[in-house]
Structures are given as C-alpha cells and as structure tokens.
Symmetry: C2
Subunit: 442 residues, 2 copies
C-alpha cells in the first residue's frame, strides 16, 4: 500500500508518523514544497519577538528523523496537478502513482491586490523564511504597519513591541479587533491595551496603495480615507485561505473559499483521497455545519483520523471542532470556544446569554485581577454554545471547564450550577465566576 | 414562618441571605457563638502569612449588614440543646421556638488527647482569634511545630515560611503528606519542596507528649519514636470533625464521625430540621455514597438548597460533590477531583489509570514547567472518576476541564480524545496533556 501525502505540516506529517506506527510496511511519501517539514508556524511571532534565536526551533521534527523511520520526503517539490482517474501525481515533469492520497496543503496568507504590493519589506507570516526575514528587517528604528488585527496580527504586535522600540501601527477593516472571535466588551479591553502600549490603531480603514522608494522598498501606505501612513515594514495578517489553487479545475469538490469538502472520515468526494487541516472545511461540533477552522489542534486530530482510516477503512470519525482559541496580548489573556455569533444569528438560534465581570481570586491575596466571562446557551437545548473569557495570570484557563461542558452537551440547570469547581484563596473565590454565570442562566 | 439557624458561617449565613431574598417577610434568627459571622476561615493561613494585616478582612459580611436586611443575629450565644419534639432551642436559660431549623455548626479541629496539650502556644486554625494569636506569637525566632500535613497544615507552613524566618518542623502520622488527596508521585514532589525549603519533615511519627516550661508554655514535643523536638509554637492541623457534640444524645441521626445525616434535600431525619456544610455527611457525586467533605464550596451550595427547600418544600436537590481541591505550596500547585483511592479500593471498582508527565507549554517560550496528570477511569462505565495534577504557574487550572468531564459523566472514547482544548504557545502545546492522557485510556 503506497500513500502519498501532499504537504509536510501538522496534518501531513501527523498522518505519515501515525500511519508508519500503525503499519511498519506501508510505503509513505511526503511531497513538500519547502526544504523542511513540521514547521510550528504558531511559533513564528515568538521567534520574531526574540523569545528564541534559532529558527530551527520552529521545526518540530527534521526530515532526517522521518526518513529514519522509513518515511520518504520529497522536499522542495511542488505538485503541479493530480490525475485522480489514474491515481497519479504530477510534478517537475515527473509522475508518481498512489494507492491512497492525502492532501494536507494547509492555508496561505491572503495577499490583497493592492498597488505596489510587491514592494520590498511587505511580508506575510507563514513560513520559516518569513519569520527570519521579518526578524532581520525590523529594528528599533522601524515603522511597522500591521494589516489585520486577528490572532496572528496581534501576536506580531505583542512580540515586535516586546523585542524592539519600533513604531507600530495597525490597520483593521472592521470596526474592532478580533471581531470574529470576541464580543465588543472583550475587544474593547484589547483596544485599550493597544492604545496603552502606544500603538496606533486605525479601525474601519484599509490600505489602497503602497508607496515605495527608489530602492523599491515600501515607505508608506495610502488608506481609503486618504491618509498616508509612513512605514518601512508591512506585515500582512488579514487572514488565510486554503492553499488549493492547483486543485481548482480538478474533480475534487471544493467549497467557495477553496476548502476541500471532506466527510467525517476525512474522505473527499474521490475514493482513496483524504484531506485534513487548514485546506479543508470541517465539521463544527455543535450544529454539524461545516467551517474552515485554521487551527493546529484540528489539523493534528484529523491527521490521526486519516491515518486510522487509511490503515483500516472508516475506522475513525472526526466528531467536530469548537474553534477553541486562546491568546495572550501583553498582560491580557483571552479565550473562547463554541459556535460563533455570525452562525448563531444567521441561523436564528434562540439564545440566552450572560456577561459576568468578577475577580479571579480572593480579595485578600495580592494580584487579584478582573475576570470576564460570557456564556451563551441555546434556549431549545439548554446547552452552552459559546463562551468567552478575558483575564490575566492564566485565569482564563477556566475555559477548559467550559470546553468540557460544551463537549459533553451538558444542560444548564440547577444540577450543573452545583458543579464542584476547585477553590482555594490563590486560585479562585468560593463562588467561581462560572458558578455565577450558570446561576443566572438557569 | 420563623427559621432559626444555628451557626454563622458559610452555610448558616448563606441560608439566611438567600431565604431573605426569596421571602422578604420570613423571620430569620441566626444563633452564633462568636461575636462575628461569615468568617472566611480559608483566609486564616494567608492572614498569618502577612498577606494582609487587618483580621476584619477575614469577615466576608458584618453582622450589621445582615441585620440591615432584616436578619437577626444572636451573637456570642451557644446553643445548649434542642427540644425537637416541641421545636424549641435552649440556651442561656432562654428558649426560642422555630418553624424551621437549620443546623450549620460546621466542624472543629481535632485536638488530640496528649499530655500537656493545654500548654500555652498550642493552637488550632479555626477562628479569627486563632489567626490573630498565631500571627502575634510567631516571630523570626520561633520554633514552630506543625502537626499534620493536610491542606491547612501545608498552607500554614507556606505562609509562616514566607512571612518569617521561624524554624519549622512538620510531624505527620502517615508515610507521606497529603496522603488522602494525592498519590505518591505527587506527594513526593511536595516532600521534595518541603526539604528544599529547609523544613524538617518527620513522617510516620506522632507527638505523644508536650513538654512545657515554668510559664506553662510549650517548649518541646516528645515523639512516639522517643525524639524530643524543640518548639515554642505548635499548630494542630490534624483534621476536623463535625461540631455536633451537643447533639450526641438527641433524636437527630448522626454518622459515626458525628456528622449529621441528611438526604438530598438537606433534610435531617427530623421534620423541618435541615442541616448543611461541614457538620453533615453529604452525597458523593459519582457513586452516591456519603462522605463529609469539609469544603466551603459544598457549604455554599447546600445553603442555597436549604433556603430553596424552606421557601418551597423539596424544590432543590443537592446532586453531590467531587471533593475538588486545589492548593498552592510555594511554587508548586496541586489540584484533584473525583472519588478517592480508599473508596475505589474498598469497593473493588475496576479501573484503568494513566500517569502523564509532560510540559505546560511550548518549549520555545520561557517558563516552561513540568506538568503531571493522573486520570483514573471506571472500566465498567468508561467514565473518569479521579484526576490529579501538579504543576506551576496556574497550569493545574486545567482541572476545570476534568471536573467538567467528570460532572457530565462523559465516556472516555475516541470522540472524547478529540475534545477541542485551547492551544497557543504561551499556554499549552498542540497536544495538551489531557489529550495525551485520554488517548492512552481509550
């Protein structure tokens, strides 16, 4: 049995490693466009922020290690097309046949079609090379413009601010940061922190043109409102899209955003072709709708499922994701889980919700901080469908509890109100914020 | 409707406040032996440790505040007996009748019957006065002997060590500290920390006699092994027992340990007599056995249930507790939840268990620390019945997730393995320790 895996990141290498463990004799070939595999892309902002200096730290496992275990890696190889009928992959005028194919090509950053987007010093945050060049370019004298204030954008802001004295501006198209993930009460606190850190935040604004100098280097950005923002480094963190351009005209069914359609076994519409991770649309746990999650955690889980199913047909099912997310932004920490507002509103789900502002632990121990929690329940099922937290000093790790309750589809009722959460003065109050919220929802 | 509440701590004042909110016209009288109510006894070690200086901080709500809301408090009043047939409380040659009675007298520290136990400077950790006198007595020159290494004992050790240069010894009867709460792998780490802190730990040892000086002050303890341990302050933290001595010969049904038997409505065997908190035996959530929990969180929940049931008969049920506990000990943090080893073994519950040693977050961010997790599942039900963690920097707040899963009685299977826990580099690894543990249990 010969398995070809296209893509050497979380899903691809996860499938390769697991499949080799399940069946030592399986032939596994990974085709990867870079000269490395297993990039921990989530670490790039922290590498840029000088939390560590060796870019090889971003590589979870080297190609040689995989090859030692009998997995072949064709690195620096870009797949051109796939002949699904004849089960053949085409690249560099070569062909390679497969019994099973795994498409795990991930996502790529959106690069907007703006005048002079090809100027020097305009970067995305996607590869090891991106991390290295951004880190080498930004100095204390830099004027950095971050375009987009999602997770990656804000992680870049935090890290650049920590490591340098660079002047930082953020441009965000929406009326607030992190809009798709958190409600306004939460993002207001993040925006206060942005301002407190001396960062220039321009919301409801867009870059329509970059201006470059005689060296072809970006020197300013012109906005839709007519302002000129001086900048010598630009970070594009608008978002990502499935990296499936080469599959556009194939028989493989794709979503409108280019995501590969898969079923719960991570099978595509074509027999023996599996897909997983950021290049797919995946099951949402609660309402069984589909969505592209772009989360390493989802990629890891789907890798395991694909390997199981290649090894033994339809033996593993992906049960869905909640889009659980956690982020540190300077002292602030935010966490969220569950269905998002847009879906809830578009589907007219009748909800009850509560926002609690409390403290993370007892008043008589130092370091007591604010802690906010929103819980949304589905009025029909009485189940929690969304939770959002903001706090400091890891108090938002309480999100583990809410993930547990959502996962178990526990009804919010008087029994749940009695959930036996831990209490001692350095960690909590006798009535935890989760208890307060649940008591107001029953 | 006249409700008498005996005891002015978490359960008693909780019932009073909630009942008054439910029914403004209800007549509520609290009988309390101290001249204050609402003591946050969990704060005493932190007061002794100079985390705050005003002992009034230990009082969550003053008597005047309760009286403003129409609740009467008879302070400095000790109930002598109860005439259940005639629904009358007797004290100070007075009588007072009731329609409903709530017994919420809590627990009191065990004071062992040892020679010279009445010497000066031998203290328990129970009341505001205990806290004040311990704090005023211990100086940098003190030689403190802590008897018993449960939660209170270790919290006292940590706080005394932080606040003073006192020499500290611990005597523990068992072969390890925190034995009833954590397995050996966990308590070994706590014992290493005790030694690292320069504290003298004597296990499998007992004090059989105190030696006092001419001022009747303790100056040493003689152990069962014949050693003489010099000490000028002794803290008794052996444990507590229900404070129900005055009920011993009454019609009220008690457990062997003196705990009042209650049903799920917090009703005793006598009509219109309720009880809750540390003076009762309560339902254990998982196997519906009963146990005395001595936890403020249980007391708080039972207060609410009692008030509901007095207001409207049998309207609220206590569904049980897990004995969830969390403790900080210097840099170490421990958390546990679920049924204890002794019960599991005594009832021959067939289990599968796993111990994972991992890290709390990504290796490339500073401050990465060890994190340990044990999960025990019931092989018959596949449900998690016990979880224990030890770590640093709040990583053990993951216990919220395990409490959620236990509470929901989620089966450990391939679907649960996919639980969507949060990941970002400062908080976790892409495969969380909980995922690792679950994957080894399915």
């Amino acid at each position: 049995m010969k398995t070809i895996i296209i893509g050497g990141s979380a899903t691809g290498m996860g499938v390769a490693a697991k499949l080799k463990r399940l069946d030592k004799n399986s032939e596994i070939i990974v085709i990867q466009d870079k000269d490395y595999v297993s990039l921990g892309a989530c670490g790039i902002p922290y590498f840029v922020g000088h939390n560590f200096e060796n870019p090889e730290t971003l590589i979870a496992r080297k190609i040689e290690k995989f090859e030692e275990s009998g997995i072949s890696v064709l690195s620096k190889t870009k797949v051109e097309s796939i002949d699904f009928d004849n089960k053949v992959i085409l690249f560099k005028n070569e062909k390679i046949s497969y019994d099973n194919l795994v498409i795990a090509v991930g996502a790529k950053p959106i690069v907007p079609d703006i005048k002079n987007i090809d100027a020097k010093n305009i970067f995305t945050v996607n590869s090891k090379e991106d991390g290295i060049i951004i880190k080498n370019t930004i100095t204390d004298n830099s004027k950095v413009l971050i375009i987009g204030s999602g997770l990656i954008g804000l992680e870049m802001v935090e890290n650049i601010k920590h490591a340098t004295k660079a002047k930082i501006s953020i441009i965000e198209k929406a009326d607030r940061v992190l809009k798709n993930l958190f409600d306004k009460e939460f993002t207001d606190l993040v925006e206060n922190e942005i301002i407190k850190q001396g960062i220039n935040l321009c919301k409801e604004n867009e870059v329509i043109e970059f201006i470059k100098d005689s060296n072809n280097k970006v020197c300013a950005a012109k906005t839709i409102k007519g302002e000129i923002i001086e900048c010598d480094v630009v970070i594009l963190s608008i978002g990502v899209l499935p990296n499936t351009h080469f599959l556009k005209d194939s028989k493989l069914e794709l979503e409108k955003n280019g995501a590969i359609k898969i079923n719960e076994y991570c099978e595509t519409n074509i027999p023996n072709v599996y897909a997983g991770g950021d290049c797919c649309s995946s099951l949402s746990y609660l309402y069984k709708n589909t969505r592209t999650f772009y989360l390493a955690t989802v990629a890891n889980k789907q890798a395991k499922i694909i390997a199981n199913n290649i090894n033994q047909n339809k033996s593993s099912k992906f049960v869905g994701a909640l889009g659980t997310t956690i982020i540190r932004f300077f002292d602030l920490e935010l966490a969220r889980t569950g269905e998002n507002r847009m879906f809830i509103e578009m589907n007219n789900i009748q909800t009850k919700e509560i926002l609690i502002k409390d403290k993370d632990h007892t008043n008589y121990l130092s370091g007591q901080e604010d802690l906010w929690l929103r819980i949304i329940i589905d009025l029909k099922t009485k189940e929690i469908i969304n939770a959002q937290m903001i706090g400091k000093n890891k108090s938002v790790l309480r999100i583990y509890g809410l993930v547990g309750l959502i996962w178990a589809k526990t009804k919010v009722d008087e029994a749940l109100e009695q959930i036996d959460l831990p209490y001692s003065p350095p960690f909590s109050r006798t009535t935890d914020i989760i208890h307060i919220a649940l008591s107001k929802l029953t």
